[in-house]
């Protein structure tokens, strides 16, 4: 499943983020504009075997850079990662928290 999501870009300096900020951490202005997240490239990844409570192991985690200088850290929905591969945002089960299954963003191969 492909997730259609948006991020926010600072209108003054171009800093892009998925998380909310009252002020831009770089230029300190407070006007942001939403934009759609498109495709990205895997910058690095790790295979985590010492996982936190509620996570299945091994856990594949990665950082990807998306168009517009947006970086996203998320679980990988695949087990054959390579730095430089093209990815998109997907959705899936992340972990259990207090017995509840939590879903969220995942990086998928393009």
């Amino acid at each position: 499943m492909t997730a259609r999501l948006s991020a926010r870009r600072c209108e003054s300096c171009g800093f892009a983020a998925m998380l909310e900020h009252l002020r831009c951490p770089r230029c300190k202005r407070e006007v942001f504009k939403e934009f759609s997240i498109s495709t990205g490239e895997l910058v690095t990844y790790t295979v985590l075997t010492a996982v936190a409570e509620g996570c299945e192991k091994p856990l594949y985690l990665g950082f990807a850079e998306f168009e517009g200088k947006l970086s996203i850290s998320a679980q990988l929905a695949f087990t054959d990662p390579a730095v430089g591969m093209k990815v998109k945002l997907g959705w899936g089960v992340l972990r259990k928290k207090k017995g509840e299954t939590v879903e969220g963003l995942k990086l998928e191969p393009l």
Partner: protein
């Protein structure tokens, strides 16, 4: 601002301890009080660095408990919590209190007891310092180190064996430190054969889970001779934060908080990186000693690992790093670490380090919160 000196130090042995957190901090403080001949002096403040005694030990208000145990009343006592930089945050508070003239004598203690919970629970408690998005995804502090290590190795064509050398060096240093948690010597092969934790990093790339405490006594430099014949001046101190979410960093290979905090510390001390003789870095994982050594200005970007391989950072090198064994082998009881780093630098400057003693007149300690969320850098110099 008044010139402020460290006039006494104390530290427990790090490792698996059976005593409670307050007992451990009392032991470290008692040593520091004796070391500074202040057992019968009036203190105005006690600052306690501790990250998670609520979760690890089920207690609240450790500063008030410690103040009472030490009989420091009516000194003001408060806990400083800044995740893994709680210790240096407490030291910064103590420095501010004495340097500003608000206090004349301040006691700083850092402590954590972590072995009360299983390893997976400790990993989870620590991971909760990450932004909710990263925590929910399952990111942990070791996973961030694994991501950084892979990117660093690719960018600078660095070898896995060279990174393992950091662990070998720090175990060697710890083997000469009676207070260190891990005192066994290891080889590069041992590191590479240890179980994978956060690929490409393995078990021996990471610090252990430890209990322990450390303490320092701060006084105005002009009064330091009343307490010790070997005062150590805090000539520079700087602190900074970076983005909470690692994904929002300008450059994944730079710890910006370390860079900004150290710049401020160098400016205050009137020193340059090349003038530092010995340093303690926040090597929760081997890769962090390398990246910090670059962002502290000791080496150019991408050169940290080459310096390690060349022996520059070994005990007999030009710039010994983590002579105590570092977080990697001395141990990393979260709230204790920042204070323990300062204690090691002070002891090096005072020529009290026995078989791991190096030639040093100016030293530096870098304590980091989380994965570079925050950093506090202190520069210390022999005052006599």
């Amino acid at each position: 601002m008044r010139k402020t000196a460290i006039v006494g130090c104390g530290m427990t042995k790090f490792g698996r301890r059976t005593e409670g957190l307050i007992d451990l901090m009392t032991e470290a403080c008692h040593q520091a009080l004796r070391d500074s001949n202040t057992l019968h002096e009036d203190f105005q403040a006690l600052f306690v660095g501790n990250m998670a005694c609520n979760e690890f030990e089920g207690i609240q208000g450790p500063a008030n408990a410690l103040c009472s145990r030490l009989g420091l009343e009516p000194a003001f006592a408060s806990r400083l919590e800044n995740t893994t930089a709680s210790g240096a945050s407490a030291a910064l508070a103590g420095w501010l209190a004495v340097a500003s003239g608000t206090c004349n004598l301040a006691l700083v203690a850092g402590g954590e007891r972590m072995t009360t919970v299983p390893t997976q629970s400790a990993t989870d408690i620590i991971a909760r310092m990450l932004p909710p998005h990263e925590y929910t995804q399952g990111f942990t502090l070791p996973s961030m180190a694994g991501l950084l290590a892979r990117r660093y190795m690719l960018t600078y064509n660095a070898s896995r064996e060279a990174l393992a050398q950091v662990a070998v060096k720090n175990h060697h240093n710890a083997s000469l430190n009676p207070d260190a948690h891990l005192q066994n010597l290891i080889t590069v092969e041992d590191v590479l054969k240890s179980p994978s934790i956060a690929d490409p990093l393995r078990l021996y790339d990471f610090c252990p889970i430890s209990d322990g405490a450390a303490a320092i006594v701060l006084a105005p430099l002009e009064e330091a001779a009343k307490f010790t014949d070997a005062p150590v001046l805090i000539s520079g101190i700087g602190a900074a934060n970076d983005t909470h979410a690692v994904q929002e960093r300008k450059d994944f290979l730079t710890l910006e908080a370390v860079r900004v905090a150290s710049d401020a510390a160098y400016r205050m001390a009137g020193r340059e990186p090349r003038e530092i003789d010995v340093a303690e870095t926040h090597d929760m994982a081997t890769i962090l000693e390398i990246v910090e050594s670059e962002d502290l200005g000791f080496f150019e970007k991408g050169e940290g690992l080459n310096a390690e391989e060349a022996g520059t950072t070994a005990l007999k090198g030009e710039l010994p790093l983590n002579t105590s064994g570092g977080l990697k082998a001395r141990g990393h009881p979260l709230g204790a670490t920042g204070v323990a780093q300062i204690v090691e630098v002070v002891h090096q400057l005072q020529r009290r380090c026995g078989r791991r003693q190096v030639e040093a007149d100016v030293g530096l300690a870098c304590n980091m919160a989380g994965f570079g969320h925050s950093a506090i850098v202190s520069i210390m110099e022999r005052a006599s």
